[in-house]
Symmetry: C2
Subunit: 101 residues, 2 copies
């Protein structure tokens, strides 16, 4: 169900405290982050963020979850770093090496 990409969204929102700015950093629409993170929160049964219109911060539960979120993203990045046979110039701008995740 849940992919790695939503974990990147969570990291970005936690870092920037703002869905719009996080969406920009992730090259996605704010509604995408909103929807995906809400879905994840649904799976987890508890919100990761407190939303106070322009002041978004992690809940205590969100703080608890962050180490795992980071681990997943870091492991995915390390896996992507192993890739072969991909020419960098064939990638879409801003996509880096992570289109698979």
């Amino acid at each position: 169900m849940s992919g790695i990409r939503v974990m990147r969204y969570v990291l970005a929102v936690a870092k920037l405290g703002h869905f719009g700015k996080a969406a920009e950093e992730c090259n996605a629409a704010p509604s995408t982050l909103s929807g995906q993170i809400r879905r994840l929160e649904g799976y987890l049964g508890t919100p990761l963020f407190e939303r106070r219109n322009g002041d978004v911060k992690l809940t205590p539960f969100g703080e608890q979850a962050m180490p795992m979120v980071r681990s997943m993203v870091e492991a995915a990045d390390r896996l992507v770093a192993l890739r072969r046979g991909r020419r960098p110039q064939s990638m879409a701008p801003g996509q880096g090496l992570s289109e698979a995740f």
Copy 2:
């Protein structure tokens, strides 16, 4: 794009050396594992497994990838372990706690 579930498929195939048995352990069809793992190998640009009809084993590249695959699955499991407000009896049999991943 790529979810965590395919990482579980990779672990199962690596452990059991057999797509059919791995599929059984994952409660999925062999064709699902075959398709998903092939897609992942496509992303990575290199095969993870040598298929020799009933003797499936990791390639050297697959061996390299395994630590990351394990990290992702373990981190996902730790995240799932934080979940609240889910009644165990509402889960499908054999699904454990991981229907989100």
